[in-house]
């Protein structure tokens, strides 16, 4: 049944497939750890996709493109930050509105970029390392964003676990009142977390429009932001599990297409369903596991904070 599928190529392409959702989910994890629920990931991703694309096309430099994508995502998240943190709007409603706004705005900005081709993002040159059978294909044949996404997960894990910044961030997310009483600037910390989440979502979006599908079309992210949100819950707010979740999801998606191409006997509908079924399954298993993991959500998640209260 695995006839013509090359496992090394399969693993290599699932790593590429997982980059956008992994970046966006890592960003959202930081946001949620600070106690803010931003459902606008899809909107920020697609803003990153068009801003990154536009910058890369105009400057001819893919690296500037990724920076542009991160800034685009962060700029959209700034709207969310101002609305929810300063004007105290409802986070769920604002996040949903942000997605709709981002989709519309990206379409408007993108009008003049339809049909353009971005400069190519080259693979990192590992020289002889890339020649190693199997490991060379799996580990050393990617563009640099694949490595950035993994480094980003590692960095977020380290900061949350070992640094003072991470401790403060978690304190704000667990109990904003206690953090406030200790003298931490809850609103400022949360706004910074939101910008960071927006930048990473934008980076993920830029990866879609610059590498995975090197072109701009309306609605190019096609729901990846929602999957990123699900992965954060799936990962029960732990960075390395975000990586596992993203690879699992990316892997099942790639595998089902490869199985179809290899002429698998499993009907195509079941294969298409598989990524979502497995996500649901894992969510069920995680949330039933002695009830502990499900309680890992930051205690102040989604609650607004104002110093006067």
């Amino acid at each position: 049944m695995f006839g013509s599928i090359d496992p090394a190529l399969l693993i290599a392409s699932l790593m590429v497939n997982a980059v956008p959702i992994m970046l966006a989910a890592t960003g959202e994890l930081v946001v949620e750890k600070s106690g803010v629920l931003n459902l606008g990931v899809e909107g920020m991703m697609i803003m990153g996709a068009i801003c990154g694309f536009a910058v890369a096309v105009v400057t001819g430099n893919p690296y500037l493109g990724f920076i542009g994508g991160a800034l685009g995502g962060a700029a959209l998240s700034a709207i969310f930050a101002v609305l929810t943190q300063i004007l105290q709007t409802n986070q769920v409603a604002t996040g949903l509105a942000l997605t709709l706004f981002g989709l519309g705005l990206s379409s408007l900005i993108g009008q003049s970029y339809v049909g353009e081709k971005p400069p190519a993002t080259g693979d990192v040159a590992f020289g002889p390392l890339a020649e190693i059978p199997f490991a060379g294909t799996v580990l050393f044949s990617h563009d640099w964003m694949v490595y950035v996404s993994i480094l980003m997960v590692a960095a977020v894990w380290w900061v949350l676990r070992y640094s003072r910044t991470g401790l403060v961030l978690r304190a704000v997310g667990e109990s904003h009142e206690a953090a406030h009483a200790l003298g931490y600037k809850v609103t400022r910390i949360r706004m910074l977390a939101i910008f960071f989440g927006g930048a990473l979502a934008g980076l993920g979006g830029a990866y879609v429009s610059l590498v995975r599908v090197p072109q701009w079309t309306d609605g190019i992210t096609a729901g990846a932001g929602w999957i990123a949100l699900a992965i954060v819950v799936f990962a029960s707010w732990k960075p390395w599990r975000v990586m596992i979740g993203a690879y699992l999801f990316g892997g099942v998606t790639v595998l089902q297409l490869n199985l179809q191409a290899a002429g698998s006997a499993i009907p195509a509908e079941y294969l298409s369903m598989a990524p979502y079924l497995i996500t649901i399954l894992v969510l069920v298993i995680i949330s039933s596991g002695r009830g502990r993991a499900s309680l890992d959500a930051p205690a102040s998640l989604g609650q607004n904070f104002h110093a006067s209260r």
Partner: protein
């Protein structure tokens, strides 16, 4: 994405309603519903070109309005109802999945004309259907694929298992096989009309398994963008010319040219001669065009492909000419027989030689 040109239309409709029936008769309003964004550069883009041609042809006499990215299903019914209420005289619903919604709304608005693309249900006198013989273009692509493949593996990114797509797969395969008896066809069902990342992934999966000619039946240019990454892999423009990927990987294309039909039908609404019809036009009528075959294709193959196109256009050759057997080995068309339209429009089987099953 949600550019609500509909809102403008609704406001205008309201204005007309208040300005009395006399004025409302002056302008004919033609409305279009698209399944994807106009910016897909494929299916919806071509329908929109048709809509713009209507505006161009009749100028002040028509109002054209449209809504993009309308999901198939319950949402479509809501959008259609709103369009009918806002004073549209004729509504073009441009995706197969709008079939039931179109007929349901048509029952409620007998004075509004409905035109449904690629469907077969005409339950009310105010519903017409229209389609293009895409399989004629697929024959030309199949021939090029069979002649050009070096790995003897060709691919087809399919959207949904509906007759239009199955017809395309069969025509593509039959002509590839005729040109190259060793050819093997790989079909991937994407279960979407528009999802660039997924379409690119499907193309990638095929390329990794040795496929070097990819035809797609989805709406975006993503499969071509993916093919462009691997030298030697070629593909075809789908629905629109996709000329940005010339001369390779895009070596030819099927262009859906809806403009003549749209202009004709809106014209009939204006002069009151519109009546229910079922139109299925092809290369001969100019509704299906074969985009330029580029220099990436050797001259002899190009000449053969063009000869095939011209034979289909002249009516001297039908892409489905017997003997053709079904996948299970039973006979479909006898020697020399051509496929009746009814068989094609309800096609739910692969022809002999294609591996795999059609999802139910």
């Amino acid at each position: 994405m949600n550019r609500r040109s509909l809102l403008a239309t609704a406001a205008l409709g309201l204005g007309l309603a208040f300005s009395g029936p006399g004025l409302a008769q002056d302008k004919t309003k033609a409305c279009f519903v698209y399944v994807g964004p106009i910016g897909d550069l494929g299916w919806s883009y071509q329908h929109h070109q048709g809509a713009l041609a209507v505006q161009e042809a009749y100028g002040d006499k028509v109002d054209v309005s449209w809504q993009e990215s309308v999901p198939e299903g319950a949402d479509a019914e809501r959008v259609l109802t709103q369009m009918a209420l806002s004073g549209c005289n004729i509504i073009f619903t441009t995706s197969f999945g709008y079939m039931d919604a179109t007929n349901a709304v048509a029952a409620k608005f007998p004075d509004v004309k409905f035109e449904h693309a690629t469907g077969y249900k005409r339950e009310h006198p105010n519903v017409s259907t229209y389609n293009a013989r895409f399989y004629e273009g697929r024959a030309v692509q199949g021939h090029i694929a069979g002649r050009m493949t070096k790995t003897n593996k060709i691919g087809y990114i399919a959207s949904f298992p509906i007759p239009e797509v199955i017809m395309g797969i069969n025509s593509y395969y039959l002509h590839a096989k005729k040109a190259n008896p060793n050819v093997e066809l790989t079909v991937i069902w994407a279960f979407t009309w528009f999802d660039p990342a997924k379409e690119a992934d499907a193309a990638k999966a095929m390329i990794e398994q040795g496929v070097d000619v990819i035809a797609s039946h989805t709406d975006s240019t993503a499969p071509l963008a993916e093919a462009a990454k691997t030298p030697g892999v070629i593909g075809f423009g789908q629905a629109s010319d996709m000329a940005d990927y010339k001369p390779s990987p895009r070596v030819s294309s099927i262009i859906d040219n809806w403009a003549p039909y749209y202009v004709k039908r809106v014209g009939e609404v204006i002069d009151g001669s519109w009546s229910q019809s079922d139109t299925w036009a092809g290369i001969k009528d100019g509704e299906v065009e074969i985009g330029e075959i580029t220099e990436a294709i050797p001259a002899d193959v190009r000449a053969e492909a063009e000869a095939l196109r011209d034979a289909i256009s002249a009516g001297s050759y039908h892409p489905f000419t017997g003997p053709i057997r079904k996948q299970d080995g039973s006979e479909w068309l006898a020697e020399g027989a051509t496929a009746p339209d009814g068989d094609l429009l309800g096609m739910s089987f692969y022809v002999e030689g294609i591996a795999g099953e059609i999802p139910q």
